[in-house]
Every structure is written in C-alpha cells, then in structure tokens.
C-alpha cells in the first residue's frame, strides 16, 4: 500500500510540475529576434535575440511589438505614455501630461506643424517612441495590447 501511495504522490507532483511549466514557461521563455538591419532605437543591435517579460508595462520600459505578419515586422520603443495619459506635440517636442519627453529627436514628417493634439492614450494602448521614429507611435499610433510581444528584459 505504501508503494501505491508513493506512486500516486509522485504522479501528483508530476502533474503539478507539468501544469506549472505549461502556465509559466511560455511567459518566461518569450524571446524575440531584432531584425538584422534594425537601427530605429539607439542601443538595440540588429540580429540580437532578446528575452521578453509579461505586463505590467510602465513608463521607461522598452516594448517589443508586431507591426505586420512578417518575421521582420517587429518594432521596439520606449513607453512614454500609459492609458489615460495626455500626449501632445508642440513646437517639435513631445509633451506627456504637459512634461517634455527626454531624450527626444524631432519627427520630420510632422515638422512645421505648430501644435498636434492633445490625444488621450486609449485603454489597453501604450505610446512608445524610438530614436528615428520609423516604427514607433508617431509613425503607427499608440500600440495596442494585441500587438505587444512583451517588454525587453534588462
């Protein structure tokens, strides 16, 4: 009988381990490859693999997100505004809740426009910026949760 109990306990431990692994491992083994020719965000090397973490996402986190179905349609940006924050572009500077975002490089396609916004960042969306603005929220709008792959692990 002891043998039977020992076997059942071993089986129960095995089941718990499998359920735990199935629940947590996908989140902890989430990885993304930076496209080889990537140069949109300063400090990120093209071709490098990065580990990703699940939410919550806060200001200052670097998010990885999908911009299309292709393997290279991935973007990276620093979160500057959270859902409910107010974003405004004024005199080539980005203001979040009235405070200027730093560091900041002007966005050429919108140069010459004195004032843009304010826009309230919608629920389940994050406003992200990158150095060259080719794949960030200025070019693609606030990034929705359905597109976010995770935040880059430091």
């Amino acid at each position: 009988m002891v043998w039977l109990i020992r076997t059942l306990i071993g089986f129960a431990v095995f089941v718990v381990a499998v359920v735990f692994a199935a629940t947590w491992l996908p989140a902890w083994l989430n990885r993304v490859q930076v496209p080889v020719d990537y140069d949109d965000l300063q400090g990120l090397e093209g071709g490098k693999g990065l580990w990703l973490e699940p939410p919550p996402y806060r200001a200052g986190d670097v998010l990885a997100y999908r911009l299309g179905p292709g393997p290279d349609d991935v973007g990276f940006g620093v979160v500057v505004a959270l859902p409910g924050d107010s974003v405004r572009l004024s005199e080539d500077r980005l203001l979040v809740n009235g405070e200027a975002v730093r560091p900041w490089s002007p966005y050429q396609p919108l140069r010459g426009l004195a004032e843009l916004g304010p826009l309230t960042v919608p629920a389940g969306h994050w406003f992200v910026v990158s150095t060259r603005h080719q794949r960030d929220s200025l070019a693609h709008g606030p990034i929705g949760a359905e597109r976010v792959l995770g935040k880059v692990r430091e």
Binding site: L67, G112, L116, P122, H140, P142, E146
Partner: protein, 265 residues
C-alpha cells in the same frame, strides 16, 4: 517491489488494471482537449494579428473576414468578436449584449459595452449601455451632440477609466466633421491633430497634414500647396475645404486650382 500485489487475487489485480486504464484514458482525452484548444487559440491569434495588419492598411473587408474566422475558433473572445462585427447587421446590438454578459473580465465587458454604445450613438439613438462615470460615456454624449449648431466637446476626468480606441477614433472623426462644417479653426486643429496622433497610418490621415499646415502660421503657402497637391485626386476637394476654413490661404490655393474661385463661398 511487487509486495502489495502478492496477496491480491487475480480479480483484484484486473480491477486495478482496468481502473488505471480508465484513469489514463480520461487524462489522455483531457490532454487532447487542452492541446486542441491550444492549437485553436494559436491559429486564432495568428488570424487576429493578420486581421489587425489588414485593418491598419485600410482593408476592412479582409480584416473582418479574418476576424470572423478567429471568432469562430474562439466564440468567447471579445477582441475577435468585436473585430468581426458588422455594424450594419441589425442583430449586432443583441450579439454585443450577449457577448457582454458572457465576458469574464471587467475590462472586456467594458470594451464590448463601449462598442454597443458607439453603435447606438452613431445611429442617433439613446445610449442605454451602462457606461456611467467613464470617459466613454462622455465621448458618446459628445458624438450624439455633434449634429447641432454648437460645437460639442468633452473633458476627461482624472482617475476615470481611459476611453476605448474605437470610441475615441469615432468621437474625433465626428467632431472634426462638425468643426469643418461650423468652420471652427481651434476645434479643427484639436481633432485633426488628435486623429493624426491616434492613427497616422490610416490612408485618409494624409489629408489631415495639409489641413493642419493651413492652420499653422509658420507654414509657407508654397509648402501648403505642395502638401495639398500630394493628395492627388482629392487635392481639389481638400483645397476647397481649406479655402473655406482659412480664407487668407485662398489666393495661394486658387493660383494652383483656378476652379476654386467660383466654387468657394
């Protein structure tokens, strides 16, 4: 090793064997069910991503077709159901009510109710979706008021739930139309700018930049004319709109599109 079983009769051993076989079969069926659901979810996530990509390219029908396929795989997933929804469907309201009551998470329920409220507001009906005290309720009230002769507005209150993207997009679009109709420059600047920040990749977003350039005192007439000309087949209609809104730009636009002189009031 086989100690406990030595004293068992063959009938008892057979019973234990059958019991373990049944337990194994049940677990196998459960594992197959979980695996099947995981595959369905994986396929649906791929279809939803493709649907969003099509949506951002302005291909609404293709986006809706992909979302409908995802919704069939995940009937209780609100994001797939919402994207697949056809606003022209007379049953859309009832389907949204049923979906809202089936939602397990409060955020999902709120998103579904906001979409229901949006359908009602755009149809000019009273909004009966329970959204009191949220940013969405204020936006929907502004959409309903946007048909009048006074410029509708709203103010989001700190601490309130942020509005849903589809409600925000609709509110800025409807209010931009009203601002253009009423020739309210400040409101045109506000709503066109917000739309350009919210959905810069939308095909019609290219029309917003010339509108905002016209309202920027620092922008030269030549730059404005160049930007309007980039709108190609829509450039003349855009020039007419700008000439009506900003009369001081009319001379520069008329020099490029002479037909405006007779058409613009």
């Amino acid at each position: 090793m086989n100690g406990p079983f030595v004293s068992w009769s063959s009938g008892q051993r057979l019973l234990l064997g059958v019991a373990l076989l049944i337990a194994g079969a049940v677990m196998l069926v459960a594992a197959a069910g979980i695996a099947w659901r995981a595959v369905q979810r994986w396929l649906a996530v791929g279809e939803l991503r493709a649907a969003h990509a099509q949506l951002h390219r302005g291909r609404l029908d293709e986006a809706r077709r992909l979302a409908a396929a995802a919704a069939e795989r995940l009937p209780r997933e609100p994001s797939a159901q919402l994207l697949a929804l056809d606003p022209a469907d007379p049953q859309a309201g009832e389907r949204l009510r049923a979906l809202a009551s089936a939602c397990e998470r409060a955020n999902d329920r709120h998103a579904v109710l906001a979409t229901l409220g949006l359908l009602q507001a755009l149809a000019g009906r009273a909004v009966d979706a329970p959204l009191e005290g949220t940013g969405d309720a204020r936006l929907l009230a502004a959409i309903r008021a946007a048909h009048g002769e006074r410029m509708a507005s709203w103010r989001l209150v700190a601490g309130e739930d942020p509005p849903q993207r589809q409600v925000l997009l609709a509110a800025h679009t409807v209010l931009l139309r009203q601002a253009l109709r009423l020739r309210s420059r400040d409101d045109v600047r506000l709503h066109a700018g917000a739309l350009l920040l919210l959905d810069p990749g939308h095909p019609r977003a290219a029309l917003l930049r010339p509108l905002l350039l016209a309202l920027s005192p620092a922008a030269a007439d030549e730059e404005l004319v160049r930007a309007v000309a980039e709108a190609r087949e829509e450039s003349e209609a855009l020039a007419r709109t700008i000439a009506a809104l900003v009369p001081e730009r009319r001379a520069a636009l008329t020099a490029r599109w002479p037909g405006l002189a007779e058409q613009t009031p």
